[in-house]
Amino acid sequence: MALQFEITNDIRKLRFFADEMTQQQLAEKAGVSRQTIVAVEGGKYNPSLELAFRIAHAFNVPIDEVFHYTVTEKKNRKDKKGDRT
């Protein structure tokens, strides 16, 4: 079994609790374009540590409340075949 790493985030939820902050407003606070915020929120782009801290700072929360690092076990083909038999 191979390990699969994934970085997820709660930006959407945090924006909702921050008085429905818009992506544009968050982008301004973090000093990036709205497009980058859209990509980060959608999991299409993993930000640098600096940007991650800036986003967390924009919400006034620690970084681990915004981003989560999850490790899951990814079944490879051989394992899947083994399961079937």
Binding site: Q24, A27, E28, G31, V32, S33, R34, Q35, T36, A39, G42, G43, K44, Y45, N46, P47, S48, E50, L51
Partner: protein, 173 residues
């Protein structure tokens, strides 16, 4: 459509137009007899002229695009906010417009990373073009064709870079 994608598309469009004009010029001059296979001086001159035109057109297109895009943002903002006679509100709208324009033109870390990745695609494409031109040369074709393949491959590399940029912006990194 976002600023980056719109900008890239305009670059692709201007690049395509330039490439077509160059190809038309070369073929028409060749058919007229202005370009001979063994006389590379006139081809070199034509290529230099097109490089100059290419730089000029790119700069002009960038300027026009930025002006038009800024106007687009300003119009959107003014439509969003109702037209009024209040001067304070007008100033606020103007500030908002300026802020939005600045925000749209921000070059952040994601843009830089996409630039790096897409330029790699461009380098690989131009490398393949160079290899193709060497193969053509090894097969015994005239230098005229080799130079043209090289020149066209640089154009195509630029376009591939732009397509890669759009792809990365759409799909993410």
């Amino acid at each position: 459509m976002t600023y980056q994608i719109a900008r890239t598309l305009t670059r692709v469009l201007s690049g395509t137009v330039l490439l077509i004009i160059y190809l038309v010029q070369v073929t028409s001059k060749y058919q007229e007899g202005g370009l001979a296979m063994d006389q590379l001086q006139s081809l070199g001159q034509l290529m230099l002229v097109f490089i100059g035109i290419g730089i000029g057109v790119t700069i002009a297109v960038e300027i026009v695009f930025h002006i038009l895009y800024s106007i687009g943002i300003a119009v959107k903002e003014s439509v969003k906010a109702d037209v009024c006679n209040d001067k304070d509100k007008e100033r606020e709208i103007e500030k908002n417009i300026e802020k939005n324009i600045k925000q749209e033109f921000v070059e952040d870390e994601m843009a830089k990373l996409i630039d790096l990745k897409s330029s790699r695609v461009g380098y690989v494409t131009s490398g393949i073009g160079f290899l193709c031109s060497l193969i053509v040369l090894a097969l015994g074709y005239p230098v005229f064709i080799v130079l043209n393949i090289l020149f066209v491959s640089f154009f195509i590399a630029g376009m591939m870079e732009s397509f890669a940029r759009i792809f990365y912006y759409k799909r993410g990194i």
